[in-house]
Symmetry: C3
Subunit: 354 residues, 3 copies
């Protein structure tokens, strides 16, 4: 695999667990066609419930297996009836008795965890399920959450940049969650890196709660607010919220406050398109409040999508032209450095050992 | 011409009669724009009734002649009024008296026969009308028939493969003409080659007639069924039907039985798109029966079209990747060998002599 | 700049004033995104009324500035709030105090004159406002005029060819302004060149006024008609009209007759698409007459657009294939020679000096 990657342009990180979908969107006997890292994949769930990911191209005449049907524990190609098991091995060719060992399609490790389907697009030997990032908010009964899947016509790294630098809020989201630019730029941004994790945080102690916060929670007066962003390849978590001022928001548990946990799974589809699997969870569960948060968040992310797609138009027209970094890019620059280092190591295995 | 072909990718067989359309679709004074083997062609019929095929690009300023009008025995370009005769020679330039000999567009031999328009896209010197395949069912008064033209977003050889291997019937056409897989795979398939002809046949003696057969003909009981496929570059005939068991279906005339004759003219438009000119003729002419057959057949072929177009998506994404042959591919493999040999000979004239 | 041009294909003339739009379409605080010569440009007008043209790509993250907003005398990027003045200099970066000198976008000279916005896409050092062509009919109170902007899916030189050779009138415009072919071809066409100007004229003394002329003006009987076409890089003026026969149409002022002045600004968008900014002015100002002229002209030009777009299809399919010139091409051939000489000189500065 590493060799195959080296021959291609260094556009993707292959040896990595990526979000491939939401488990709830794939019922028993169902299948979904999706492209990840330029490779067409069929994700299906057998009738007994096991999810699997195979190359979406029958080895016989290249028909997408996603055009076929799940039958028991196999997926059957709709053209001449070849049947493949969850490991991609052909177990039936209707017109003949003997099945050659070459009758198989590529299998991608797929794991269901925390309501998410995680796929490994790289060297199968290196796939280690224990490295799959946990996201326990999806099973935390104190929270309500909702998931989405956006198809973005833009490169995956643009999505990372967008989320790592929230200084765009007062401009892109002026009509939704943005608010006053002065407020946003008056707060110090902290940034740190630890291995492949990058953290960016901003704290607004003893500040006025914004209208959406008031609507979600009955605050006594001023609040201690936080915005905490955490990147790892290739997802981002954004934890925002507030507690009544002086009640320990920055030291310990925040259960008495208001939290929103954004999960952002960023999976390249092609060099210029991206699967954006996101959820938002909140502990403000008063009737009507979560629904309002979910809806506002979706509107906000559609605004981001529009920006990313316009950026991509300009970048595709002149891909090698340099861009200017500004002060607020510190977080996205660190995330990009993590990715560049991992991608370089992947293409040159000697660097991995070193 | 052979030299010009050699410089291109070996994607097409040029020196061959192809179906260009149905004669009935081209009335006197009418013209149709179509691309064959990557070359834009205007087919028109003069007011006296003669069909002609010219390059669809005026030699003056490249406007498609198909945008122009047929006037008497000529086609006139709509931009500056140049007029071309059926041989592609310019016979009028409004603004000047002298017409230079270079004022002409390429002419393609075009012959109308058996209700079909046949075009020769290769070396004009090699065009021989006597080699045009006959299809007499179109003028056989015992038969009723109907013609169609489908535009397929798939390579022409995929269409051949589809028709040469009917083992796909129980899968693609499960809801139309497919039926039980076991029935289809229990029958021996015979295959043979004779020059550039490839024949595949399957016989089901003393078998139950399927529902569509019963509807078409008043069979006494069991029947002797046949499926006979014949390929030649580049068309396929499929003769299917049945006679009452033991009444000579496999030896002699089948006039007392039920026959359907499919004609499949397969003409490349580009490397990835195909003109599919097909007809189906039947001798079951009881009122309502032919119409039902025509409609069912069209539905069935639309199912094939969908498959071909999905195959093409995967093949275009990775054109050089090999595919796996299975037992039922014997007929299509032979057809492909015939084509490969002819295409190779066309590009290397020394091989033609040998 | 000259060096940058030389590295590209010689598709455009860069050092030239091009029409970029109509001044009336750009109100204070408004902005328009347009591509000229393959370069994305935002044209905006500040709140005080000054028009400006900048590269439509923020230097920070490549978002089109046309997605942003005009605020006072600046345009602000909608992503992170960078603000640029009319010269393309960044004057504000919200998240930081210091603005690096590299924080700027390319500025294109833009001048508003005769109701037109003129842009210079080439070497800024060579831009000379005194070379902007005048078009005084837009401010002549004897005339009424109307402007349009068509997006043509065809190369800019096809547009020039179309307008320099009106022998296409009886064919393309048979149903609008065309009329009898014999009439058009019975008139001698004069052509001359003077520096970068090319003039084509046709005179029809003592001829019957066509119906549209009669409708516009109360002619006594026969008229002296004229058709005068003038090309300069890269616009064309077409002056057509008539006076009562023998009243001096060919010698002096034509104020007593009927005139239509067509202005045709031809600005390449890409190699295969063109901005066509045109107006038509007339001194036949009786109520209802100008409106009818404007409408007929627009219909006529839509017919030309259809032709150009079909030509482009064929030319794109085989761009290097030669085309045949005919007698009526004399004017367009001269215009092409002017352009070829200027484009060659631009790419090889030594030729400019010579």
């Amino acid at each position: 695999m590493a060799g195959a990657v080296a021959a291609k342009a260094p556009e993707f990180l292959y040896n990595n667990w990526y979000v491939a979908g939401w488990g709830a969107d794939l019922g028993p006997g169902e299948r979904i066609a999706r492209t990840f890292l330029n490779q067409p994949v069929v994700i299906f769930r057998t009738e007994s419930g096991q999810p699997s990911a195979l190359e979406d191209r029958c080895c016989h005449r290249a028909l997408p297996l996603s055009f076929g049907t799940v039958d028991g524990e196999r997926i059957r190609c709709s053209y001449h009836g070849l049947e493949f098991n969850v490991a991609g091995k052909c177990e039936k060719i209707p017109a003949q008795d003997k099945i050659p060992p070459t009758a198989c399609v590529r299998h991608y490790p797929l794991v269901e965890r925390d309501s998410l389907l995680w796929i490994w697009m790289g060297d199968v030997e290196l796939a280690n399920e224990s490295e799959i990032p946990a996201h326990t908010w999806h099973s935390n009964s104190r929270f309500k959450w909702k998931s989405h899947h956006f198809d973005i016509q833009g490169n995956w790294e643009l999505m990372i940049e967008n989320l790592m630098d929230l200084s765009h809020l007062p401009y892109i989201h002026a009509n939704t969650i943005g608010g006053n630019p002065a407020l946003h730029f008056g707060v110090k941004t902290n940034s740190s890196r630890e291995g492949n994790l990058v953290r960016v945080s901003r704290y607004m102690p003893n500040s006025e709660p914004p209208p959406t916060y008031r609507a979600a929670k009955n605050f006594a007066g001023k609040v201690d607010r936080w915005q905490e962003i955490e990147f790892q390849p290739v997802l981002i978590r954004i934890n925002t919220g507030a507690c009544d001022a002086g009640t320990g928001a920055y030291e310990g548990p925040r259960d008495h406050g208001f939290s929103m946990i954004g999960f952002h799974g960023i999976t390249p589809e092609t060099e210029t398109t991206t699967h954006y699997f996101w959820s938002v969870a909140t502990d403000a569960v008063t009737e009507g409040v979560p629904e309002q948060i979910f809806q506002q968040t979706a509107e906000t992310f559609r605004e981001d999508q529009e920006v990313l797609e316009l950026q991509q138009l300009r970048i595709s027209a002149d891909p090698d032209r340099p861009l200017l970094d500004i002060a607020s890019d510190v977080g996205s620059r660190q995330a990009r450095q993590v990715l560049r280092r991992l991608m370089k190591a992947e293409r040159d295995p000697d660097l991995v050992a070193a």
